[in-house]
Amino acid sequence: MIKHYFLPQSLDEALALLKEHGEDVAVSGGGTHMMMLINNGHIFPRALMGLRRAGLANIHANGSLRIGAMSTMTQIMQADTGDLLHTAAQNVGGWAVRNMATVGGNLMMPQPAGDFAVALLALGADVKLAGPDGERLVPLVDFYASLPHLKTGELITEIIVPHSTGKTAYLKHARREANAPSMVTVAVNLEMDGGTVTAARIALNGAGATPVRATAAERVVTGQALEPQTIAQAAKAAAEECSPFDDAVASAWYRRKMVDVFVKRALEAIV
């Protein structure tokens, strides 16, 4: 039984509560994951903290994009956040879930529920964290590489997306067309000069312990024109380097095959 529910009215109050209650308090963003865990009896926290009123739901879209961690998928779709993030947000859950699920929460979701985060990886986003030692800014790729992602007493406060002029593509492969967990999701962001790729970010969801960059595939396309042969080689590299998993929606074996297919289709979509 949860003994306390905290609904802090500011970030400072949230951080103070975390400091005071430490590991006893579970943190919920939009609640689409944490409340499910509680309802199903997967976890039994002594206290729960909801961040809906902590003032973290603002989106600033001039120059680089600054997204408050508590911004919902619906807010992303309504703000001027670009095609890639719009498509990614649209691919999270159903309508009611998108009204609740948050950007910060999506970073903490277990696989394969990182269909928004994968787009942030492709855009080279940074994550701003606040904790007892102040703020720090971490590239999302490093955030995922470090375990635990958050230090004790830390919260995700903001996601910062640099201005991008790249060409983007987003493809999600699931058992149903909508509101379905991902088997594989691919987000691609390519800086092009004429027909040549000058910088590449290719990100995969459903193909590792977290959303990941397919760096070998990125190296294949960088400096090249997107010829069919290059695309096929990049897709093969992505399939080889990723570490997919078995779950109820797909096997690791199938996911690896689909990484090949969907990286190829995503790159073809950019040509």
């Binding site: 039984m1 949860i2 003994k3 306390h4 529910y5 609904l7 919920s28 939009g30 609640g31 689409t32 409340m35 499910m36 509680i38 309802n39 199903n40 206290a47 729960l48 909801g50 809906r52 009123r53 619906t74 859950g93 159903g94 309508w95 009611a96 879930v97 009204n99 609740m100 067309e177 909508a178 509101n179």
Partner: protein, 162 residues
């Protein structure tokens, strides 16, 4: 255990209620306030049968702590139903055989209400997008989509409380 008193607007009426820590809106409206049109399905956010409108937007009441809705407006199916007769959406669901067992119906109607309030003349694709988070295990969705199209009536929907 520190329960709290919250006040909010339920179907146009101000309500005060005592809620336990992290008690959900679903538990509050069903078990304390006895508004049982809102269903309790999967409690995972997967089925949509508990959908209510929060300030006119669909949310899942099973995943929403009641304290979060303090001072806000919640609409349930009871609030869509007029004093006499049925809302055009309800009538259309009946006319088009869009309910079989009826368990998903309250959630479907809440999402439809939000859809038509936002977008009075939705395309078939927009209807399908809107109800994608609501599972129906009986109808195969076709009658529901047809019911929503008919309720919209090419922009003529004017429901209760509009």
């Amino acid at each position: 255990m520190p329960s709290k008193v919250i006040s909010f607007v339920l179907n146009g009426r101000e309500v005060e209620a005592m809620v336990k820590p992290a008690e959900t809106v679903q538990t509050l409206i069903r078990e304390r306030l006895h508004y049982t049109a809102t269903k309790s399905g999967c409690k995972q956010g997967g089925c949509g049968s508990c959908t209510v409108l929060l300030n006119g937007e669909p949310v899942l009441s099973c995943l929403l702590p009641a304290e979060d809705i303090a001072d806000q407006e919640v609409t349930t199916l009871e609030g869509v139903t007029p004093m006499h007769g049925l809302d055009p959406i309800q009538q259309s669901f009946a006319d088009h055989y869009a309910t079989q067992c009826g368990f998903c119906t309250p959630g479907m109607i809440m999402v439809t209400k939000a859809l038509l309030d936002h977008n009075p003349d939705p395309t078939r694709q927009e209807i399908m997008d809107a109800i994608a988070g609501n599972f129906c295990r009986c109808t195969g969705y076709q009658p529901i989509i047809e019911a929503i199209e008919a309720a919209a009536g090419h922009g003529k929907y004017a429901g209760h409380g509009k």
